[in-house]
């Protein structure tokens, strides 16, 4: 028996004007799971994250949250949907209003959602220690916090609404390696204690490899491979996934195989290549790849690949 996914994305497309940045993407996210979404800048990762959280309209396809269409959920009770599905943006310092103290920033969601103030504020105070903040941070402004502390404030603002699902956009971008672990451990603890499901968007494959259960790889608006994290990193099937993994700089000389250096850069979605969108940069492209777009096919348990000639 398969468990119904908490988020079911079915052939979703997202566009800015006539620029289609997410093209017919499908992905299921199981409850309690951490899914990583990786790909180069311009692959459509953040746009897909915004579509799931209904911060950006889709032009095609459906997204279901706990079995219900997100459009219908938002239409019937927008705030109720926002409480269940949250997004934490990268660069938390600039996503927090610079003119409000942390105390006001934490009170804001209580007011917006019309929650009982006293009781909710007591919850916030109880949660502060859990996320590694203390009362002395309440009277500071965002710019007075470190990057890690600002992220904890953004996280706390989400948690007070008791969400079920959080999209984390680049949660460790700009954080020093020595404190990244603390923040990721915190996300992991909260997942267990509060029954959360995460979609973590990141171009940092070192982070994705270590904290996610499943990885989805995006290229130019499409998901080209999905797989269980350890398997996907050990045996990538799509040549794009393989080249992403091989490109990670490593301090371990034994793991430093001669990397596949991808030629060129991700093209504009305004004029995507014919056939497989990756073919102009693909080291194993053949004639068929130029004309026929590969469908994503099952390739083992939890694994699917959109490639005519997978490498594993």
């Amino acid at each position: 028996m398969t468990v119904r996914p908490i988020v079911a994305i079915d052939r979703v497309s997202v566009a800015y004007g006539d620029l289609v940045v997410v093209h017919e993407v499908s992905l299921d996210i199981a409850a309690g799971e951490t899914v990583g979404l990786v790909g180069e800048s311009g692959s459509g990762k953040t746009s897909l994250g915004k579509a799931i959280t209904m911060l950006k309209d889709t032009i095609d396809g459906t997204i279901a949250f706990e079995g219900e269409d997100v459009r219908a959920l938002v239409a019937s009770d927008r705030l109720a949907f926002r409480r269940r599905v949250q997004m934490i943006f990268q660069d938390p310092v600039s996503s927090l209003s610079p003119r409000l103290k942390i105390r006001s920033l934490l009170a804001e969601p209580i007011e917006v959602h019309g929650l009982p103030f006293e009781a909710t504020w007591r919850q916030i105070e109880a949660l502060m220690a859990d996320v590694g903040l203390s009362a002395q941070h309440l009277d500071k402004y965002p710019h007075e916090l470190s990057g890690g502390q600002a992220r904890r404030v953004a996280l706390l603002r989400s948690l007070v609404l008791a969400p079920r699902f959080i999209v984390c956009d680049e949660p460790t971008a700009g954080l020093d390696v020595s404190v990244q672990g603390d923040l990721l451990n915190l996300l992991c603890d909260l997942q267990i204690t509060r029954g959360l499901t995460y979609l973590i968007i990141s171009h940092n494959l070192n982070v994705i490899r270590r904290v996610t259960d499943t990885v989805a790889v995006m290229y130019l608006g499409q998901i080209v491979e999905v797989g269980e994290t350890a398997t996907l990193f050990a045996r990538p099937a799509h040549p794009y996934t393989a080249s992403l993994i091989a490109a990670i700089p490593t301090i371990d000389p034994d793991r430093r195989r001669s990397p596949i250096v991808l030629a060129g850069e991700i093209p504009s979605p305004r004029k995507p290549p014919t056939g497989c969108r990756f073919h102009p940069r693909c080291p194993s492209a053949q004639a068929r790849c130029r004309t026929e777009a590969p469908a994503r096919r099952d390739a083992g348990p939890g694994r699917s690949v959109a490639c005519h000639f997978p490498v594993a």
């Binding site: 020595s178 490899r209 990670i248 700089p249 490593t250 301090i251 430093r256 850069e265």
Partner: protein
């Protein structure tokens, strides 16, 4: 053996702030060998960028040198004078920053940027020869269709292409020292890989020294010959790249390597370094890392450790490491 291109001895730099003096660099001694690619690693607040600005004497107005000496090609900064610094900045040192848009003028064409650099280095060259050299260099750093794109402006190029243009400008200056401050940090891993391959290829043609500043241990390990590790404004450890990453002796460097590489077990706990970087307004009396160090002894809190050779082939400023 010829002396190193850059010799830094006991350098101290402080910034005046409202709260008091921030001691960004303290007793820093290091050498940049001629022709080497030297990696400078450290986290936020370690003093990487302060050092990058101190070498061409581009420190901001609220900074002052509190002690020590820098020698460039054998000449002490104390004896150099403003004219000497101009020569240093204009001709002998070139810099590439994390965000190329801060270094490229948005209303000046790429052709003018490159042409200016060539004209300064070779005032005798004619317009046609300058253009020919600019195209050849753009081609060399991997800008496709270089001749046509020469007339373009910075905003018409991707982040990776802008960084290639910055590298082209730096190389056309034919500097003795190229300082690259986090040049690949803002780039995708695929583009970072292309830039690393380019830098490694170029070193055969470029005779100068490269100081490559990065917080990414993997990037430094792959590119650099020598590595200098900064912590809280002091040099924690130095050594040949291979030795340092295989047999780091300083507890800080060991912890940093584990943070970056350790794959968590079933409990999924990732490693971090407990505690915070010390406040550099009032730095700790002994070793700067002692308050966070798992193996610190009494001496670490009272006496500043000096760099000394370790069995693993590196030099570490640590009372405990052997």
């Amino acid at each position: 053996m010829t002396a190193a291109l850059v010799e830094v001895r006991d350098l101290g730099v402080a910034f005046a702030t409202e709260r008091g003096d921030v001691h960004a660099l303290r007793h820093v001694s290091l050498d940049l060998a001629r022709g080497a690619i030297v990696g400078l690693v450290g986290e936020s607040g370690s003093g990487k960028s302060t050092l990058a600005l101190a070498l061409p004497m581009l420190l901001p107005a609220n900074a002052r040198v509190t002690g020590g000496e820098i020698r460039f090609d054998g000449v002490s900064f104390a004896a150099m004078g403003e004219r000497g610094f101009k020569e240093l900045r204009g001709r002998r040192i070139a810099m590439v920053f994390q965000d190329p848009m801060t270094s490229l003028n948005p209303v000046i064409s790429i052709a003018s940027h490159l042409g200016d650099v060539i004209a300064r280095r070779h005032p005798d060259l004619g317009r046609r020869e300058r253009k020919r050299r600019a195209i050849a260099m753009l081609d060399r750093v991997g800008i496709p269709d270089a001749e046509r794109r020469l007339g373009g402006f910075a905003h018409e190029f991707s982040g990776g292409m802008r960084q290639r243009i910055m590298i082209a400008m730096a190389l056309l200056a034919e500097p003795d020292l190229l300082i690259a401050d986090e040049p690949t940090t803002a780039l995708d891993v695929t583009i970072e890989r292309q830039i690393l391959v380019l830098l490694r290829d170029l070193r055969r043609e470029f005779a100068g020294t490269i100081l490559f500043i990065s917080h990414s241990l993997g990037t430094v390990a792959e590119l650099c010959d020598e590595v200098i590790v900064l912590y809280a404004g002091t040099v924690a450890e130095t050594g040949a790249s291979a030795a340092l990453f295989a047999r780091a002796g300083h507890p800080y460097m060991q912890a940093l390597i584990r943070c970056e590489t350790e794959v968590p077990g079933t409990d999924r706990r990732l490693r971090s370094i407990p505690g915070d970087v010390p406040d550099l307004i009032d730095p700790p009396g002994g070793c700067a890392f002692a308050p966070r160090c798992p193996v610190a002894v009494a001496a670490c809190r009272s006496a500043v450790p000096l760099l000394r050779p370790l069995a693993g082939g590196t030099h570490a400023a640590c009372h405990v490491a052997r």
